[in-house]
C-alpha cells in the first residue's frame, strides 16, 4: 500500500479526519454524532496513517500507548459521573454550567466530559487493535 500518492495524501487525510472527528464529537449532544462515532473516525484516521506510513510513525505520533489513551477515557467518563457527588444528585446526572466567553454563552456539561471520555476509549481501543493487526501484516 506504500504508493507515493497514498503516502503523500495520508498525512493530510489523517489530520482532516481527526479534525472532523472532533467536530462530530462536539456536535453530538443535540445532533447526530458524539463520542463513539467521533472516536471511530479518529481511529480510522490513525489506521490510514498506519497503512500508508507504517505502524511506528503512528505510535510516535500519538505518543501515549493506545491502551493508556483508552484507560484515560474510562477514567474521565467515571469522573464525569462522580461530579454529581458534591451536587447531591444521583450518579451520572447531567450537570450544566454556563460560561460567558467574549460575549458568547457556552454551555458546558458533565455529559460533555463523559462523551470526550467515550471518544478516548474508542480511539484507544480501536487504534490498539488496528495497529496490532497492521504490525502482524508484515511478519
Amino acid at each position: 500500500m506504500r504508493t507515493v500518492i497514498f503516502r503523500t495524501v495520508a498525512p493530510y487525510l489523517t489530520s482532516l479526519m481527526v479534525l472532523f472527528s472532533i467536530f462530530v464529537l462536539l456536535r453530538g449532544h443535540n445532533e447526530p454524532g458524539g463520542g463513539f462515532i467521533g472516536g471511530l473516525i479518529a481511529a480510522s484516521a490513525f489506521a490510514i496513517y498506519g497503512i500508508a506510513c507504517g505502524v511506528a510513525p503512528v505510535r510516535r505520533a500519538i505518543y501515549f500507548h493506545p491502551m493508556a489513551i483508552s484507560a484515560f477515557g474510562l477514567f474521565m467518563s467515571s469522573i464525569a459521573g462522580m461530579i454529581s457527588l458534591p451536587l447531591s444528585v444521583p450518579f451520572m446526572t447531567g450537570n450544566w454550567m454556563q460560561l460567558s466567553f467574549f460575549g458568547v454563552d457556552i454551555d458546558l456539561s458533565s455529559v460533555l466530559i463523559f462523551d470526550i471520555g467515550v471518544y478516548f476509549v474508542v480511539v484507544g481501543a480501536i487504534t490498539s487493535i488496528a495497529l496490532a493487526l497492521e504490525e502482524r501484516d508484515r511478519d
Binding site: 457527588l85 444528585v89 444521583p90 447531567g94 454556563q98 454551555d107
Partner: protein, 523 residues
Amino acid sequence: MAATSSHSVDLSQAMNVDPTPLADWLVVMPVVWCLLAGAILLMLRKRTELQASIGIVALVGLCLLDAALLWRVLEEGPFTMVMGRWLPPFGIAFTVDLLGAFFTMTSGLVALAAGIFGRDDVDSTGRRYGFYPFLLLLMAGVSGAFLTGDVFNLYVWFEVLLISSFGLLVLGSEREQIDGATKYAFLNLVGTTLFLVATGYLYGLFGTLNMADILIKAPELRQTAPLMTLVCLYLLAFAMKAAAFPVNFWLPASYHTPKLVVSGLFGGLLTKIGIYALLRVLVMLFPIERAELGWVIAVLAAGTMLLGVLGALAQNDTRRAVGFLVISGIGMMLAGIALGSPSGLAGAILYAAHSMVVMTAIYFAAGIGGRVSGSFLLSRSGGIYPSHLVLAFATLALFLSMAGLPPFSGLWPKVMLVKAALDVGEWWLAGAILVTGFLTTITVGRIWALAYWKPRAADAEPLDPASQKVPMTSVIGLGMLTVLTVVFGLWPEPLIAISQDAARGLIDTSSFVLSVFPGEVPQ
C-alpha cells in the same frame, strides 16, 4: 438540554428532585471505584513495580465499600439509586438488597485474596499484560451484576466481566491458554447471546427492564404472555454461565489453563454469577414459572453434582479435578433453587458464598502444592506433607470444607439444603446431595493422599530448591480464605441469618419494589 429555556418545566414529573443522600452512593461506589482504579492501573501498565501495591490498596478500598454497603443494607433494608435523576423505570436503577450486598462483600474478599496472592504468583510479564487492571475491571463487572436492578444492565455487567475474564484467561499467551480461551469465549458468547435474546423478548413482553417494574407488571401479564418460554430461555442461558449439566463442558476444558490465581478467581466468582442471575431472575421475578420448572432444575441439579464429582474422581491433574469440583458445587446451589422454599434458597445462598471462598482457596492451595511438588499430576507429585506441614493441613481443611465435613463452613449450607429437601419430601434430591458429599470426600481424600501424603517416588527427579520456598503473599492470600472458612464453620449463626433474610427478600419482594417505587402498594 440546560433548563434555561424560556418556559418553565416541572422537573418533578420526570426527575427525582430530592437531594440524594451521600449514603445512597454506596450502591454505585463499588462499581465506580473498580472502574477508576482499573483505569489508573491500565494507564500505569508499564510501571510493573507499582501495579501490585496500587491494585491491593484499591481492593482493600473495595472491601471497605462493600462492608459499608452490607452494613447499611442490614440496618435499613434494600435501597435504590436511579442514574441521572430520572424516575424509574426510565432511568437505570441500581437496587441493592441483602442478597446483592452479601455476594458483593464475599466477592470483594475473594478478589482481595487474589490480589495479594497474585503479587508474587503473577510475574512481571503477566503484570505487563495487565493482571491487576483486568482484576479490577472484572470486579467492576461482578459488583455491577450483583448490585444492578435492571435486567439489561445485568447483561451489560455480564459482558464487562466476560471481556475482563478473556484478558485474564490468556495472560501470558501460551498455546494451551489460547486453546482453553477459545472454547471458553465461544461457549460463553453463545450463553450471553441467549441471555440477550431472552432479554429482548422480555422487553417486548413487558415494555420495561426494571426488575421492580417487572415484578409489578408480571401478575397481569401472566394471563396472556408466554412467560414460560422466556423463563426456559433464561434458565438455559444462566445454566450455561453457571456450568450446569448438560452445558458444563466448557469449564473443565478451560479452567486448568490460566495461571492458578486466575483459575481461582474464575472458579470462585464467575460460575456464581450465573447462580446469582438464576436467583434474581427465576426465583425473584418469575417464581410461579420457576415452581413449574422445579423438577427440571432438580434433575439438572442432581446431574450436575454427581457428574461433577465423578469427573473429579477420574482426573489425574489436580487442576482439572478442582474444575470438576466447581461444577459439583454448582449442582448443590441448583438444588436449593429447585426447591424454591425459603430454607432451600437460604441454603443455596450460603453455599454460594461458601463456595466463592473455598473454591478460590482450593485453587490457590493446588497452585502452591503443584509448585512445591513440581507437578500437578497426581501420579508424579507427592511428598508435600513432610516438608510443608502447614500447607498440607490448610489444604486438608479446605478439602474437608469442600466435602462438607465439620467443623468447616461447608457443613452448614449442606445441612440446610438436605433439611429443606426432606421438608418437602424430595428424598432423592437429599440423597443425591449426601451421595455427592460422600463421593467428594473420597475425591479430595484421594487427591490429598496422592499429592500431599504419599512419599515422593525414589526415582523422581530432584526438586528445584527455589520453588520450595512459598512466598509470603501466597501464604497470606491462602491463609485469609482458610481462616474465613474455619471461622464461619465454627460460628455460622450470622451468615445463616443473613442468608435466611436474603432468601426471604427474594420471596417477599415488597421491600425491593418499595425501594424503587416508594409510592407503590406492595402486592
